[in-house]
């Protein structure tokens, strides 16, 4: 059991090492110069080019996900049945619009905001509950 888990770890480490080495041959769509510019502006200092490429790949993946979500919204809108045929758009090209992009980004924002909202509600809820308990205790002491 231990040997198999150890072998698994070894495989994971070797896969990660191979991936980092392959990043030197892989050219992300977001250029290294642009990523380095933003990294230096933000105070992130690392001379290793592989980490710069990793950031570029992560940003490319994020933008691809947002763009594909927006594409799904665009396709759903085009596939929806239109009652008035005169209003039907003639151009059936897939165009990135502000409407689709805002819907896609709203999903990202919703998930981010909902987690913060949940945390704040629980925190303040617990705080108010504790304060109420303290007040109840005081009332009990006065009565006695």
């Amino acid at each position: 059991m231990n040997s198999s888990s150890g072998e698994g770890r070894h495989d994971d480490d070797s896969a990660l090492a191979e991936f980092l080495a392959s990043l030197m041959d892989y050219t992300p769509t977001i250029p290294d110069e642009l990523v380095e510019h933003y990294l230096s502006r933000s105070g992130f200092h690392c001379p290793d080019l592989r980490l710069t490429r990793l950031v570029a790949v992560a940003a490319q993946k994020f933008i691809s996900e947002v763009a594909s979500d927006a594409l799904q919204h665009c396709k759903a809108r085009q596939a929806a049945p239109v009652k008035d045929k005169s209003k039907q758009p003639k151009d059936k090209r897939l165009v990135l619009t502000m409407e689709d992009l805002s819907k896609a980004l709203r999903e990202v924002r919703k998930l981010t905001v909902s987690s913060i909202y949940f945390f704040e509600v629980t925190f303040f809820g617990i705080l108010i509950y504790c304060l109420l308990i303290e007040k109840k205790k005081k009332f009990v002491m006065i009565k006695v």
């Binding site: 994971d12 933000s42 994020f62 990135l96």
Partner: protein, 239 residues
């Protein structure tokens, strides 16, 4: 992807040009949209998505830098970056987020990135971007120039003092201590060679020398008169 030329022309006429980084990120994001399946994009939507991409990189970088600083390091490493990516992905969720003891190098985010790199075609940026060259403007030290510093308290490893300062010091020592002075003009004729590692002045450059004097009330009046006389002289010369 077909560029919306009409809107671009309008933007160029109305507002100032966007920064170079924003333009480059817009082109990169347009290429990503092309790979996703889009045929065209509205300018406003493309600018917004490019801005989002820049903010994503900056947020990731800031988070990674702060994590590295919290561990007492100025240089960030892979672990800091993975932790920053996990923090950024936490609201959306990722596999293994429930277990905080999962090793960072075995994070599911890294595995997702590996799968993404394997699945997506490699599309590099269309044109090479010229890097901003940082010229090393380090002037040579006294020791490197083989000269002795003018003062005893100045170490030899410091860069040499400017030649103009040294020249003015030599002129001041040769003429004695002068407290009063007048403004004069000199024409620097020809090209000056100031020595190794120094810049060469342009020919025919007009120079204006001023010497400040410090004195009381009566001297102040004399100074004002002198300045006024100089101004009259200049006006007279111009006419």
């Amino acid at each position: 992807m077909e560029p919306p030329a009409k809107h671009e022309e309008e933007d160029e006429e109305n507002g100032p040009r966007p920064p170079f980084a924003a333009t480059v990120s817009r082109v990169a994001v347009a290429q990503i949209c092309l790979t996703v399946g889009y045929a065209a994009a509205e300018p406003a939507a493309l600018c917004s998505l490019a801005d989002v991409a820049a903010r994503f990189v900056q947020t990731l970088a800031r988070s990674g830098a702060s994590i590295a600083a919290a561990h007492g390091r100025t240089d960030a490493n892979l672990l800091d970056l993975v932790r920053a990516m996990e923090d950024l992905s936490l609201p959306r969720g990722f596999a293994g987020a429930f277990n905080p003891t999962t090793p960072l190098l075995r994070s599911s985010i890294l595995r997702e990135l590996m799968a993404f790199v394997r699945s997506v075609e490699e599309i590099p940026f269309p044109r090479p971007i010229r890097r901003e060259s940082v010229r090393a403007r380090v002037s040579p030290s006294f020791g490197q120039m083989g000269r002795e510093p003018p003062f005893g308290h100045v170490p030899r490893w410091l860069p040499c003092f400017p030649e103009a300062w040294e020249r003015s010091r030599r002129e001041g020592e040769g003429g004695g201590d002068r407290r009063e002075g007048e403004g004069k003009r000199e024409m620097a004729k020809g090209v000056r060679l100031l020595g190794e590692g120094e810049r060469v002045l342009l020919a025919g450059r007009e120079r204006v020398c001023f010497r400040l004097e410090y004195c009381g009330g009566s001297c102040g009046e004399r100074k004002k008169k002198r300045v006024g006389e100089e101004a009259e002289e200049r006006c007279g010369k111009r006419r």
